[in-house]
């Protein structure tokens, strides 16, 4: 990972910037959203592989920062929503696409089904993914002597 960041740094102009945009595991919320209301049905469960990936990514960025390759300029979290028309479509997606980092417990799925069934006709289910965006500035290397 650090080697890849060094490669990216090599391709950047001396004052170039690196935008790191990625999801961060945090037991993402399962919600039912309609025009009028948003109801929380429960939380997904983080999977250890995904947690390890997150830890490795944070470790790599700390390392390149300590090596003096990049300086962190700005950072924030925001929500990124995945929407499905039905709870079963959501479950199918989570089971097949997110199997390495999130899973949905039966109790959470049942809660989502219950809330969705009693919500307005336009209600959809969604997962609130926690995103992190960071802007890094490449640090110019000192001129060689």
């Amino acid at each position: 990972m650090v080697h890849a960041l060094d490669e990216i740094r090599r391709t950047l102009t001396p004052d170039g910037i690196l935008i790191d945009l990625r999801p961060v595991e945090d037991n993402w919320l399962v919600e039912v959203a309609s025009q009028d209301a948003v109801q929380v049905a429960g939380k997904l469960t983080d999977v250890p592989i995904g947690q390890a990936d997150d830890a490795a990514a944070f470790r790599a960025m700390r390392e390149v920062e300590s090596l003096g390759w990049f300086v962190r300029e700005r950072e924030q979290e925001f929500s990124f929503f995945y929407y499905w028309d039905t709870p079963s479509e959501m479950k199918e997606f989570i089971d097949t696409e997110w199997e390495d980092f999130e899973k949905i417990e039966d109790s959470v799925l049942k809660a989502a089904q219950s809330v969705w069934a009693s919500a307005n006709a336009d209600a959809r289910v969604r997962v609130r993914v926690k995103m992190l965006i960071t802007r890094w500035r490449k640090i110019q290397e000192p001129p060689s002597r």
Partner: protein, 98 residues
């Protein structure tokens, strides 16, 4: 399937708060099928998307809007060995890939 990703457009809005892509030369690492690429590439002078997945690169190439094909390029490559010259880009985007 009815999947919809970020219909509110939060990702695009925040991305543009973090970087000015106007006339910039942009390297996107982990571009996949180009979902994020199309949110800034029109403003850029040059965009190069890299991804190790050949199938994803093919989709990105096939979906390229005709008017952007002159300055948006997709290549199969890993971030561990970027086949591009040094100091060529103003902005690098790590797209859900670190």
């Amino acid at each position: 399937m009815s999947l919809q990703k970020d219909p509110e457009g939060f990702e695009k809005k925040i991305l543009h708060q973090y970087a000015d892509f106007t006339n910039a030369r942009v390297l996107e690492v982990g571009c996949g099928e180009g979902r994020l690429t199309w949110k800034y590439a029109a403003a850029s002078r040059l965009t190069v998307g890299l991804d190790p997945d050949q199938d994803a690169v093919r989709v990105a190439q096939a979906d390229s809007p005709h008017d952007l094909r002159g300055h948006v390029h997709f290549t199969r490559a890993s971030a561990k060995n970027i086949p591009l010259a040094k100091e060529r880009f103003d902005i690098a985007v790590l797209a859900w890939s670190l």
